[in-house]
């Protein structure tokens, strides 16, 4: 048996350009990845335990800050779950405003990801342009809710503010410019040669793999898996405003870019429809402070995929247990499995392909039987990969 060179790549915590520290270990035999595991925890704050010592409205404030990019979705999931436990239903206008904000947040999250993924591939101009256009949607969010990020729209039982006509016109104008810009980005993503060199055929995940590993969101849809909570289990006002699914068959990195860009168009269409048929009525409904005992599961479609909330209440003011499974955890699990068998030289782009909430690279250890452990950087490993290729 060829000597098993255990070659662990810890991609460690601090990343110069990106946001969040995580830590990945790939075990490699030669060039092919044989095993991969992830070690999170740098951003683990113990929120689920914290939730058990806060009452429901405080929890809404806390759960909005699990992730800065998709804060509205977390709040919506918690609000829906608690309302279901309390046996109340948010008024139709509030439901429509909730999904309006969810779609605006999806636009801002996808544009942000487009820029960051391009930055990861060294395409700074696309990063600057996509983030400049993202400012349009940030202004819209701010004019609606008063804050660019963490807009805390939700209350348990409804929403805090209304969408007047001046908001409506501003949103419609903003969407027109955004739509025209997104058409340009779709063109760039599908035709720019240097970009395609880094994305076409990289990190391909077949449909069966996507099914088996339980991937969610755009990553799954890029492999042809028709899985979208807004379509499978329409919640809030998605029943009145149906979403049509954007899928792609190729399953590689380029497909993930294309699916997310096309979803932007879908969000524009949806927002225009919501604004045209915004139901009248008040914004909130009374909810008792003590939520009756019971358990519920609330699933919501975050920009990165299905967000799963399990809420258990023992009838008091404070929840018994709130379990949050973020979409990135599923995607990590799938990427870790997909990484096996892939070349190591493609790892950075594969990782940035699933729009991770954590991405980073730092250290790497080569443990060679008989020799001392050397420490290589993530990129040194890529170098190793490239040298290996030259010899082939």
């Amino acid at each position: 048996m060829e000597t098993q060179r255990k070659f662990i790549v810890p991609i460690g915590p601090q990343h110069p350009a990106l946001k969040e520290p995580g830590h990945f270990q790939f075990t490699v035999d030669g060039e092919i990845v044989t095993d991969a595991s992830v070690r999170l925890g740098y951003v683990h704050r113990g929120i689920e335990k914290g939730a058990e010592s806060r009452n429901w409205t405080q929890n809404l404030y806390l759960f909005e800050r699990i992730c800065g990019i998709c804060s509205h979705v977390h709040a919506t999931a918690l609000a829906i779950g608690v309302e279901r436990l309390a046996g109340v239903q948010a008024p139709p206008r509030a439901q429509a405003i909730r999904i309006l904000m969810a779609e605006l947040e999806r636009i801002h999250s996808h544009l942000l990801w487009l820029g960051v993924a391009a930055h990861e591939g060294g395409f700074d101009t696309l990063f600057m342009y996509s983030w400049r256009d993202r400012e349009i949607v940030m202004d819209l969010l701010e004019s609606l809710s008063g804050n660019r990020v963490n807009y805390s729209v939700n209350l348990i039982g409804g929403v805090k503010f209304d969408v007047e006509d001046k908001h409506r016109d501003a949103i419609l104008r903003g969407l027109d410019t955004l739509e025209e810009r997104t058409r340009h980005y779709l063109n760039v993503v599908t035709t720019d040669r240097t970009f395609l060199a880094r994305t076409r055929g990289v990190g391909t995940m077949s449909r069966e793999q996507a099914e088996l590993f339980g991937t969610v969101g755009p990553t799954a849809r890029a492999s042809g898996v028709a899985r979208d909570v807004r379509v499978d289990a329409p919640y809030e006002a998605y029943t009145q405003f149906p979403v049509n699914l954007v899928t792609d068959e190729r399953g590689d990195l380029m497909a993930r870019f294309v699916v997310r860009t096309k979803e932007l168009f879908e969000s524009y269409r949806l927002i225009r429809e919501i604004l045209d048929h915004l139901p009248a009525g008040e914004l909130t409904v009374r909810v008792p402070r003590k939520i009756p005992a019971g358990e519920t599961v609330s699933r919501v479609e975050a920009p990165r995929g299905e967000l799963f909330y399990f809420i258990k209440s023992n009838g008091g003011e404070k929840p018994e247990r709130i379990k949050v499974r973020t979409p990135s955890l599923c995607n990590w699990a799938s990427v870790m499995q997909v990484a096996v068998g892939h070349k190591l030289a493609d790892m950075p782009m594969i990782l940035s392909g699933i729009d991770p909430c954590f991405s980073c690279n730092d250290r790497m250890v080569l443990i060679d039987r008989g020799s001392s452990a050397q420490v290589w950087s993530w990129d040194e490993l890529r170098r190793y990969g490239i040298e290996y290729y030259k010899k082939l």
């Binding site: 060294g122 395409f123 600057m128 030289a345 250290r363 420490v375 950087s377 990129d379 040194e380 170098r383």
Partner: protein
């Protein structure tokens, strides 16, 4: 052609040599950063930004990491800047006759510019930081890949003028039609070779911020970093002057010098902000497959037509 002869000491310290070059290098770096920012729809830095960066870096604390050869650690930036400055003596800076000129100074200039890149590679390898190690290997790999095509591209005009002396090529280029028109492929390879030499995107793998932090210069701070930056700026200035002198019909007077080099710089900046960063294996592949062959083709054409 006013072959202004200046006292050699002034030439060395003040005019085509030291002070003017450093100032020119900073000025060109500012234009480059400003243009890239403007292409990215940003405002970009103020005019004195590179100067402020330089002075601040000189005033910072100098950290020497352990396990590093101290002498080498201090000497490398100095050698890098020195080699860049000396290579300026043979090149018609600011349109004046070069301070010193002899047969074969084209090869010497190119060699001196490569010494700068070698110092960078050595600096990376010297420090124990793994990013620097990776940056060093990348710098050297890229050096071997663009050096040959860049040299061949510059040989085209040399062969046509039947001389290896930069100044004679400069005179020849002034009398005849622009080499960029007679030898278009050579011009393209030289330009793209220059981008490779200066590690501008899409060839900036050696200092890819998102991947290897700062490449070979990760461990340097304060004076060492300042000298390396200066070396890079001077290299930018000299590279532009050489390609302009060879392919854009020579540099007779300062006005022409300014116009042509800035024109080239704008062209470089446009290319720079258009492309994503190529992986190191793609860059090497591109150079050996496309770059070398095109340069050879150009030389063959030059031989036949001569």
């Amino acid at each position: 052609m006013n072959n202004l002869t200046v006292h050699p000491l002034i030439a060395l310290l003040l005019f085509p040599g030291g002070l003017f070059l450093l100032g020119g290098g900073l000025f060109y770096e500012w234009i480059d950063r400003k243009l890239v920012a403007r292409f990215q729809n940003r405002l970009g830095p103020r005019w004195f930004q590179p100067l402020a960066d330089l002075v601040k870096l000189l005033a910072k604390e100098e950290i020497t990491p352990q396990g590093v050869n101290r002498a080498l650690f201090f000497m490398l930036p100095v050698i890098a800047l020195a080699s860049a400055l000396t290579s300026a003596l043979y090149v018609p800076i600011a349109g004046f006759v070069s301070a010193n000129s002899f047969r074969g100074d084209l090869i010497v200039t190119l060699y001196l510019l490569s010494v700068l890149t070698l110092c960078l590679g050595l600096a990376g390898a010297n420090t124990m930081n793994r990013f620097a190690l990776i940056g060093a290997t990348r710098t050297l790999t890229q050096l071997f890949s663009y050096e040959a095509p860049f040299l061949l591209a510059l040989l085209g005009p040399a062969i046509v003028t039947k001389s290896w002396q930069i100044m004679t090529i400069n005179y020849y280029a002034q009398q005849h039609l622009w080499m960029a028109i007679t030898q278009p492929i050579g011009f393209v390879v030289a330009l793209v070779g220059l981008m490779g030499k200066l590690e501008l995107p899409p060839f900036d793998a050696p200092e890819a911020e998102t991947e290897i932090v700062a490449g070979a210069m990760t461990e340097y701070s304060g004076r060492g970093l300042a000298l390396f930056h200066l070396g890079k700026n001077v290299e930018l200035l000299i590279g532009l002057t050489m390609v302009a002198a060879f392919y854009l019909g020579g540099l007779a007077n300062p006005l022409e010098f300014l116009a042509k080099t800035l024109g080239l710089l704008v062209l470089l900046t446009v290319l720079q902000s258009l492309f994503a960063r190529l992986r190191i294996d793609q860059t090497v592949g591109l150079w050996w497959r496309a770059g070398a062959l095109l340069a050879l083709l150009q030389l063959v054409v030059v031989f036949l037509l001569r």
